[in-house]
């Protein structure tokens, strides 16, 4: 819609076109633009000068007033000696004056005078009080001070003051705080306001501090519950509060403790409360309390209550992660890569279809597998054309991962003692297209007598499952000292068998990876430590970038220092199931039978 181009010689007028509309000045909403402070006008300045002068006068009078006060005292002294009648007379005249001034009829005056006469002994101050009472009846409180001062003026014959007194007092009432000190006189109003504000702030701060102090006192007061209180069934919220309180007390025990109670009593109380709140049995809770510091313990328990996110592993034999993610997104699955540490894992946030029944799942493009189950296989680091043993394979997640990393070359022996569960291994292997597998059902401890010389051995040992409480909450209650003992013994035997199965002379391998889904040191560090003593193996770094270091000392136990090369994973730290991974390298096929026997006899 611009101006029409005129290519014949006609000159084109400059400026805006006839139809162009000029935009008006912008308008802004109120408050956006800051108003500049205007200079005071001449009149305003005059008024300000007047105000200042008035104030100065006022101050002068105030100083005078103080002087008169001192005079008044002298008068009072004389008065007490004087005849009271005289005084009352004078008062009468005074009051009459006043009533005239105020143009109010004082009906009670005569009556009051009688009263005065009754109290013949009363001194000046008494008279004043009575007068005050009378004034209140009239409800003219404001004038009260001025009236009393009027009297004083009478005595002193200061006529001047009498005239201005009332007004002065009123003003004084208004600026009570401001005029309290003479130093304020020279201050500008803004400075006064500032001073006032500061005072106010100080007061507020003081109050706040006091309140804080009160609050903290209240908070830290935790009284140890009595037996009856403990016996009666309370609701869970009370118990939760008590857990918090006890942990607070234990965190600053010296200051907050009850002097008559020992630390162990507090610990017992805490343990019992935790057992009730999270429904663990006493034994397991005690074990957990030995492993974790108190604040971490709570986090662990909380994390164990909620399920870990569902994760899947891409079957690299059949597809790539990107293609799989695309296919699943098309089916309405909300997913993300697990993390930077793996290139084949996906975490599923939500899904419109069951993840265990999509055509992709049935075609073997992925397998449902916990994030923690990736770790031992990554630590094992299988290579192509190797002979690898998975001693406790069911349901075949880790075995199939190994086979996928070997790209279906070499051989994977998947063993599991349970014949029912081995069916899942076979099913998964066929679904995922793994062709290099031998699936058998030996007892892991007897495997060395059947077949040896594996390049790598993975032992994902059966355990109490204290790391996967969220998956199987029955662990909380059904584990006991005996169970752990039993697990521990079995694990030691299995680990020794696993080491015996491995071939130390293998060019690439001689690697044994030991893992459990438990977090108890009895099932982890202790077992590995035992194997270190019995066989010619050494711990080597797992190759996993994250995870907490394994324990080298736990309560009375002192483990081999190299156990810090093992890795622990916790639900509250790494958002995966509790897990333990140790990577061992076998150096010779010698079995330290004698050495072990000697140690046992020594012990």
């Amino acid at each position: 819609m611009g101006r029409k181009a005129k290519f014949n010689d006609t000159t084109v007028p400059s400026g805006r076109g006839r139809k162009a509309k000029k935009q008006g000045d912008p308008t802004f909403p109120k408050g956006i633009l800051v108003k500049e402070e205007k200079e005071l006008s001449h009149r305003q300045r005059q008024r300000a000068r007047k105000r200042l002068l008035k104030k100065q006068n006022l101050n002068k009078k105030l100083t005078k007033l103080e002087k008169t006060k001192s005079n008044k005292k002298e008068i009072e002294d004389t008065l007490t000696e004087d005849n009271v009648k005289n005084v009352t007379k004078q008062l009468k005249t005074n009051k009459k004056k006043k009533s005239l001034k105020k143009q109010l009829k004082n009906n009670n005056l005569s009556h009051e005078d009688d009263q005065m006469q009754f109290n013949s002994d009363s001194n000046m101050s008494n008279n004043e009080e009575v007068m005050r009472g009378e004034q209140q009846k009239i409800k003219k409180k404001k004038l009260l001070n001025s009236d009393t001062k009027d009297e004083i003026d009478n005595y002193n014959d200061i006529e001047e003051y009498e005239q201005n007194g009332k007004m002065d007092n009123e003003e004084m009432n208004q600026n009570e705080d401001a005029d309290s000190s003479d130093s304020d006189v020279d201050l500008l109003p803004i400075e006064k306001a500032n001073k006032k504000l500061k005072k106010k702030q100080e007061e507020e701060q003081k109050l706040a501090e006091e309140e804080m102090h009160d609050m903290t006192l209240q908070q830290f007061v935790f009284t140890f519950p009595t037996e009856e209180e403990l016996a009666e069934v309370t609701n869970l919220k009370d118990i939760q509060q008590r857990i918090k309180d006890v942990i607070m007390v234990l965190s600053d025990f010296k200051r907050l403790r009850d002097v008559n109670r020992s630390r162990s009593e507090y610990m017992d109380l805490l343990r019992n409360d935790l057992c009730t709140y999270y429904s663990y049995n006493n034994f397991l809770m005690e074990k957990l309390m030995q492993i974790f510091p108190l604040d971490e313990l709570l986090e662990f328990l909380e994390a164990s209550e909620v399920q870990r996110p569902m994760t899947i592993r891409t079957n690299t034999l059949k597809t790539r992660r990107r293609d799989l993610a695309e296919a699943l997104i098309n089916r309405g699955v909300n997913l993300d890569p697990i993390g930077k540490w793996t290139k084949i894992g996906l975490v599923i946030y939500s899904s419109q279809v069951p993840m265990g029944a999509t055509p992709e799942y049935l075609a073997g493009h992925y397998i449902l597998q916990g994030a923690s189950s990736f770790l031992p296989v990554m630590a094992l680091d299988p290579k192509e054309n190797e002979k690898i043993l998975d001693m406790c394979a069911a349901p075949g997640g880790k075995s199939s991962h190994i086979a996928a990393l070997m790209k279906n070359t070499g051989v994977i022996f998947s063993n599991d003692v349970n014949e029912e569960r081995i069916k899942a291994v076979v099913g998964n292997f066929h679904r995922l297209g793994i062709v290099n597998s031998i699936v058998c059902t030996y007892d892991g401890r007897k495997l060395p007598s059947v077949i040896k010389s594996f390049d790598r051995v993975l032992l994902d040992a059966p355990c109490t499952g204290t790391g996967v409480v969220s998956k199987d909450p029955s662990v909380k209650t059904n584990k006991d000292e005996v169970d752990i003992q039993r697990c521990c013994t079995l694990q030691k035997e299995l680990l020794l068998a696993a080491i015996d199965c491995a071939n130390a002379r293998s060019e690439s391998g001689g690697i044994i990876v030991y893992s459990t889904c438990s977090i108890l040191p009895e099932e982890n560090e202790w077992v590995v430590d035992h194997a270190l003593k019995k066989r010619d193996v050494k711990l080597i770094p797992t190759g996993l970038e994250f995870g907490a270091e394994g324990f080298t000392s736990y309560r009375q136990y002192r483990f081999h220092p190299s156990l810090k090369l093992t890795k622990r994973f916790y639900p509250h730290v790494h958002n995966m199931d509790g897990f333990f991974v140790a990577k061992l390298k076998k150096f010779s096929n010698i079995v330290h039978k004698n050495k072990g026997a000697e140690e046992e006899t020594l012990n």
Binding site: A327, G356, A357, P359, E360, L362, A363, G364, H365, K387, T409, V411, F413, E419, I422, K423, A424, V425, V426, G427, F429, H430, R431, G433, V435, N436, S437, I438, V439, C440, T441, Y442, V450, I451
Partner: protein, 180 residues
């Protein structure tokens, strides 16, 4: 773990030929080593000789599976192909059927494929020919036998069955226990 008798070998190969024709040769002579069929408890396994030699160390009672299970001999002496063989058959198959995404789920529940669910079919497929069913994005879903030839399919009724269901990958869930 024993070698198949000649009769049984013949039965197995006949069955495989129905699906992959002359490509059976490729299945036996592979570049990555010699593969062979072995029978155990009526099941036929297809396995590399290398793995077989290692498996010989294992007590047959304790051995559950080696390599890939192709199928089993029925009581009446016929050979039945299992869905587990799909991984090896799908690449060599000569006649294919692609199903629409809407019909995919139906097939995975064990139903036949009707004309309405048919997306594509290999040219010149005769009637009663063994085929492998694919989804539209080329995921093998199972085996079947054509009920109509390609020519007949053109003029078939929308509800008419095109392909009879034989095995599908839904069986991994439906009949996990009976697969092996």
């Amino acid at each position: 773990m024993k070698r198949l008798t000649e009769e049984k070998t013949k039965l197995v190969l006949e069955k495989l030929t129905k699906y992959i024709g002359t490509n059976v040769k490729l299945l036996l002579d592979r570049p990555d080593g010699v593969y062979c069929f072995r029978e155990r408890k009526g099941r036929v396994y297809y396995v590399s000789e290398k793995i077989l030699s290692l498996a010989s160390m294992v007590n047959p009672d304790k051995l559950t599976s080696i390599g890939t299970c192709f199928g089993k001999f029925t009581k009446s002496g016929k050979f039945r192909l299992h869905i587990t063989a799909l991984y090896h058959l799908a690449p060599y198959v000569q006649h294919k059927i692609w199903v629409k995404p809407s019909a995919e789920q139906q097939f995975l529940y064990g139903h036949h494929i009707s004309k309405s669910g048919l997306s594509r079919i290999t040219e010149n497929t005769p009637q009663y020919q063994g085929v492998v069913i694919f989804s539209t994005n080329n995921i093998p879903l199972g085996f079947g036998v054509t009920a109509k030839s390609t020519m007949d399919c053109k003029y078939a009724d929308p509800m008419a069955t095109i392909c009879f269901h034989q095995a599908d990958i839904g069986e991994y869930i439906r009949s996990e226990d009976s697969l092996i």
